[in-house]
Structures are given as C-alpha cells and as structure tokens.
C-alpha cells in the first residue's frame, strides 16, 4: 500500500471515532493485575494517565488467556472487546491476529509519533522486516533468557559458569556428583521448553545460523543447527537433565530450583516475579548467558515478549495511541523499571536507572550487546507446536536429536 492510501485509511479510521465522547479506555491486561505489587504499579500508571488526560478513565480487563488459547481472538472479534491490548507477542502469535484482520497496522505512527526513536534501532529494523515493512505491534517488554544460578551454592562449591560449552558440561558433571541436579527444565509449559532449547541452539550454532533456520534458509536437520538438539539428547542420556522432567511444568521446575535441588535454570527477567512469590532471596540469584564454544556467541536469547496492539474495532483509537505514547515515555519507563514488580527488559536503553534487584542489573548488562533468537517467538504458528513436542521428546528420551530436527524441518518446509 502506498503512503497516500495508508494515510487515507488512517484518517478514515480516526475520523470514524472522532465523534465519540465516551472517555473510557479499556485495556486488555496486564497479566496478574490480581497480584498486589503489580496492581500497585499499574494503578499508579493509570492514575498518572488520567491526570494527564482529564475526563479519561482507564479500565483494565484482566486477561483470561492469550493468543495461544484463543481468548484474545474471541475478545477482539466481539463488539465489546478492548480498545488496546497488551499480550504475549512474537511474530508467530501476531501473525495469527494479523491474518484474522483483528489488529491495525501501526507503521505510520512509528514515523508520525516518533515511536521509532523510542525503541532500540535493531528492534525497529527487525519489526520492519517481518511483514514487508508493515508493523503491527509496539514492543513493551523483551525477553532475555539465560542461566540463573545460586550465588551461595556456587561459592560454597567453588563453581564458576565457564566460558566454553565443553567446560560447561564438566561443570554439570561436578554438580551431579554432589547430588544436586545440574539443570532444571519444565517442558510442559511450552515456553519453558523453548527457553532452554533456544539457549542450546544459540550456544551450539550462533545467532547467524539460528536466524537462517528461522527464515527457512537453513534446514533444521542440517548439522550446523541440529547440533543443539543432539547436545540436549546427550545431556539427557548422561542424566544431567533428568527424563522425569518431561512431566514438569515451569512451576514444577522452578520449584526444584528455588528449593536448591537444582543448580541452574534457564529463565528470563520475569523470573523475579516467581522468585518473589516463592520467598527466594533475589540477592542470591546470579545470571549468565549459556557458554558457547563459538567466540562471541555466549549471549542470552530472546525477542519480543509482550507488545501493544490496537484492535481494528477499537472504540478509542485516539486514546489508544495516546496511551502507547505514554507507555513509551521516559517517565513511565523509568517508573516501571525501578519498581519492585519490574520483570522485563525494556524496548530501549534506559540510562541511569537502578533496577530494584541486582540480578536484573546482570541481565540488562548481558543483553546490552544484543540477544540471540528465541525460536519460540519467531517460528510460524504451524511449526511451533511441533517444535515444543520435539523438545519434550528429546527430554523424555523418545527421539534422537537428528530425528527431532527432521520433524521440525518437515513442518518448516511446508510453511516456507
């Protein structure tokens, strides 16, 4: 669509709502507003927005689900849906609601409202490349997945997260010898399975190769990328990751970690919320990217975690845009980043902020040089289901690395 057509469409869209004077902005989200700390933060944000926009009331709709279980689509399709949405995103999920024409393209606002200067340049470029120039989301939080470990446990046993993969396996054996589980994982929660696996792929093959595989330019059963799956299977066969974990979900796996029966766990900044709930002393949490034999590839993996979307049938598109401006503003971002309930990486660099927990500092520091791909976020919807099942198959020792990757590839081949 050329610029003029787009501008016309936008004008029509906004004009259609210009006459509306009902000043309630209904927002889908945030998750877990039922938790007091999160409620405190968001009610504060709501109050600030209402103060800055007299006559406006913000109403939160507690989410009943995500795009993955159809709850968002059901809400967006109805006439009583939200005016702006904050939900789990990533190209796989966004494609679903975009194809269903349930959200509007936001490309033009990135220019006209200066959003493109409010997020990391690499992030903007990545978004631009996803739908041939059209952008449908505004990232709210990024994920950066790496290894969480117990500082006290490691100090006591004189362990260190090494720089290379080979040394990492040696470390895991040493941990196992002490009767502690080296690595916990909770594959029943699909995201969790992908976190570990994404880290392994990144460590084994490097960002470039993973990117190629995600774009369909490199076959998943090509040895260059299959090695990550093979390694996972090797870890399981060596007992370094117990097969029984295939039946655990993220809560079950994190329980192992919080109770110090497991030494390491792959998670992102959102894990601070889990830790808080479990009463774990966050000062004891350490974070480092998964080591890699390839120099420069020991990085966290991630991608867009949560984004803002504007529904096609939003009754308050103007307010929704103002809300997004507000959420992207320095004041609000700093406020969120420094709040105890802060659980994620922000979509732009925030100087001079002191995250409330030291481990978040470590995560931000690790992510500053860039993160690798978390495939769960980038794979097309058709493939991601097989992807998660294969990971479960590897952890329960039912399929070999090579065969598992072949299955993923066969789905990719159909889609790409």
């Amino acid at each position: 669509m050329n610029i003029i057509a787009k501008a016309l469409a936008t004008t029509v869209f906004l004009a259609g709502s210009a006459g509306v004077h009902a000043e309630t902005l209904r927002m889908w989200g945030p998750e877990q507003i039922t938790e007091p700390l999160i409620a405190e933060l968001w009610n504060g944000i709501k109050a600030d927005f209402e103060a800055a926009n007299p006559g406006v009331v913000v109403e939160f709709i507690p989410p009943t689900g995500t795009i993955s279980n159809g709850a968002v689509q059901a809400a967006l399709q109805s006439d009583v849906g939200p005016d702006v949405v904050l939900t789990n995103s990533g190209i796989g999920r966004i494609t679903v609601v975009k194809n269903a024409k349930q959200i509007i393209p936001l490309t033009v606002y990135y220019e006209s409202r200066g959003w493109k200067d409010k997020i990391y340049p690499w992030l903007y470029d990545e978004l631009k490349g996803q739908y041939g120039g059209e952008i449908y989301e505004v990232p709210d939080g990024l994920d950066a997945l790496g290894i969480w470990y117990h500082k006290d446990m490691f100090a006591e046993h004189d362990w260190n997260i090494p720089a290379t993969w080979k040394e990492f396996v040696v470390l895991m054996k040493a941990i196992q010898d002490k009767g502690i589980q080296p690595l916990a994982v909770g594959p029943r929660t699909p995201g969790s399975a992908g976190h570990l696996f994404g880290n392994l792929l990144q460590s084994a093959s490097g960002t470039l190769n993973v990117g190629k595989a995600l774009r369909g330019e490199l076959a998943w059963d090509d040895p260059a990328i299959a090695v990550g799956a093979v390694r996972l299977r090797e870890l399981v066969d060596a007992g370094l990751i117990k097969k029984e974990m295939a039946g655990l979900d993220l809560d079950g796996a994190s329980r192992l970690w919080f109770n110090k029966r497991a030494a390491m766990f792959v998670a992102g900044p959102w894990f601070t919320a889990n830790a808080r709930k479990a009463g774990y002393d966050l000062n004891n949490a350490g974070y480092l990217p998964m080591p890699s034999d390839i120099s420069g590839e020991a990085k966290p993996t991630g991608g867009v975690g949560w984004s803002w979307l504007i529904p096609t049938n939003s009754k308050q598109p103007e307010l929704a845009l103002k809300w997004i401006d507000f959420m992207l503003s320095d004041g609000i971002m700093k406020k969120r980043a420094q709040h105890a309930a802060s659980t994620m990486l922000y979509p732009r660099e925030l100087k001079d902020i002191q995250p409330s927990t030291p481990v978040l500092k470590e995560i931000f520091a690790a992510a500053v040089t860039g993160v690798g791909y978390n495939p769960s976020v980038y794979l097309p919807a058709d493939v991601v289901d097989t992807y998660f099942q294969v990971i479960q198959g590897l952890i329960s020792a039912q399929v070999s690395g090579g065969d598992g990757m072949k299955q993923i590839q066969s789905k990719m081949a159909v889609v790409r």
Binding site: T34, T64, A71, A74, D79, V80, N259, A273
Partner: protein
C-alpha cells in the same frame, strides 16, 4: 437384622478407599490455607505455619467473586429452566407420541452427543455473533443448553417411556390434549427425573470453562471458572488464590448436592411408578 450387624466391617474396609478418594481434596484444602511460599516449598506433608484464611478473603476481593458468583447463579438458573422447558416436552413427544421422523429426530440428537464442544466452538461463536448474543448471559445459556439437550432428552425420554401407554390412552379418551397430559400427569410424577436433570445441568454449567472463555468477554458477565483463570499468568500464578478460589467455587455445589442427593439418586433410577 443380620445385615445391620455386618455393616461395620464393610464401612471399616472402605476406610482406606475413602482416604484415597478424598486425599486430593484434603491436599487442596490444606494448600489453600498455605502462604504462597509454603506452596512453593511444595511439601505435601507440611502443615501451614499459620492458617491463611486471608487467602479466601483475598481471592474473593481480588477476583471480584461477588460479581462472578452472581453471574454463575444466573447462568445456572437460566440453563436449568431452559433445559426443563426444552427437554421435558420433547422427551414426552419422543416417548409417547408416534409421529413420522421420530427415530430420525432421536438419532440427530444422539449424534450431537458425540461431538466434542471444541469441534464446533468457532462456528458457534459466529452464530452467536450473528444474532448479537456474544458477551451475554443469554448467549451462553443458549449455547450450553444446546450442548446439554441430547443428554437431557435421553434422560426425560427414558423416564417417560416407562410410564404405561395405557395412562396416555385413558387420558386421551377422556379428551385430554398431549400438553395437558404432560403437565397434569407426567410432570407431577417425574420429580426424580427432573431433579436428576436439574443437578446434572447445574453441575456442568457451574464448572463450565471453555464456552464462557470464548463467549463471555467483559468481566461484568463472566462466571467463576473465568475468574479463577485470572490468577494465572504466563509464567507465574498466584496459587494460594487459585486454590482458595477453587474451594469457594465448590461450596455452593456441595451444598446443592447434599440438599438434593436423595431425590437425585431416585431420579437416576429412572424410577418406575409403584404398582
């Protein structure tokens, strides 16, 4: 009587079975009184340091249970009434009125019983949307009743089949219309079957999650199961609220069952008329 003296051994022998069957309940209730940290420690034999009755208050307040409970009651009331209005007459017609196409009608209903709701949920959504009933209790009631009609008719028809045809014939000869026969003769004696239908419909409606997830969008019309899911997030859930919320949602159902359980069991007998 010889039977009574043999009752205690049986009751005692059932003790372990009782324990096994009720253990998950006990676990749930004990867990609902733990703090989030204690739940995190996940020691099934650990007794909470302090009984967190606060969890129940929090679940009620934070989850907006007041509204949810009201909606759930309305939902159940609507479903139960509509089920009776649809299934009783239809059950009677299928049992007592020979008409052409009766067998086909019955098969069409049985067919519906075999379709899982996941199968038709999106077209159902579109139908509801077309008549403007998305996000309304009316809409959800219609969808749930439609889903329950096969079993309801099955039940009513079976019960009515046992009423002797002579009764109908005699009434017809006295000049009664079928509607009069249904309301004046059949319904009064079918209290047990009606009770069974009421309880089964109420139970499945109260616990229904899937249809409300898709149909009820605004918090103002949502029912209890949707309230419980608000305590869950993508990566972290507030389990103390999930557990205590679950127990809260049980209580009305248990009460209903205890009050009506004798009639309910009678109804399941498809009890015949005495004599």
């Amino acid at each position: 009587m010889s039977m009574r003296s043999r009752e205690w051994p049986v009751a005692l022998a059932l003790g372990p079975v009782l324990v096994l069957v009720l253990a998950p309940f006990v676990w749930l209730i004990v867990s609902s009184l733990k703090s989030e940290e204690e739940i995190g420690r996940a020691d099934p034999f650990e007794w909470p340091a302090k009984l967190m009755w606060q969890n129940y208050l929090d679940a009620w307040r934070i989850g907006g249970f007041g509204e949810l409970v009201g909606n759930s009651f309305l939902n159940v009331a609507g479903v139960v009434m509509l089920m009776l209005v649809t299934c009783a007459p239809a059950g009677y017609a299928l049992a007592k009125i020979p008409f052409r196409g009766r067998e086909w009608m019955f098969y069409a209903l049985i067919f519906g019983m075999t379709i899982p709701i996941q199968a038709i949920v999106i077209p159902l959504y579109q139908v509801l949307s077309a008549v403007g009933l998305i996000n309304s209790l009316t809409g959800i009631v219609l969808a749930q009743v439609s889903n329950g009609i096969p079993f309801g008719i099955f039940l009513m028809r079976s019960f009515f089949s046992n009423v002797p045809d002579e009764l109908v014939e005699a009434a017809r000869m006295d000049g009664a219309s079928h509607l009069q026969i249904l309301t004046k003769i059949f319904l009064p004696i079918s209290a047990p079957a009606v009770m069974a239908l009421v309880i089964i419909s109420a139970l499945s409606t109260w616990n229904d999650f899937f249809l409300p997830l898709i149909v009820l969008i605004s918090p103002q019309v949502q029912t209890i199961p949707l309230g419980l899911v608000r305590f869950a997030g993508t990566y972290a859930s507030e389990y103390r609220l999930v557990f205590s919320g679950t127990v809260i949602s049980f209580l009305p159902v248990i009460l209903l069952y205890i009050l009506t359980q004798r009639r309910f069991t009678e109804g399941l007998t498809q009890g015949a008329i005495k004599g």
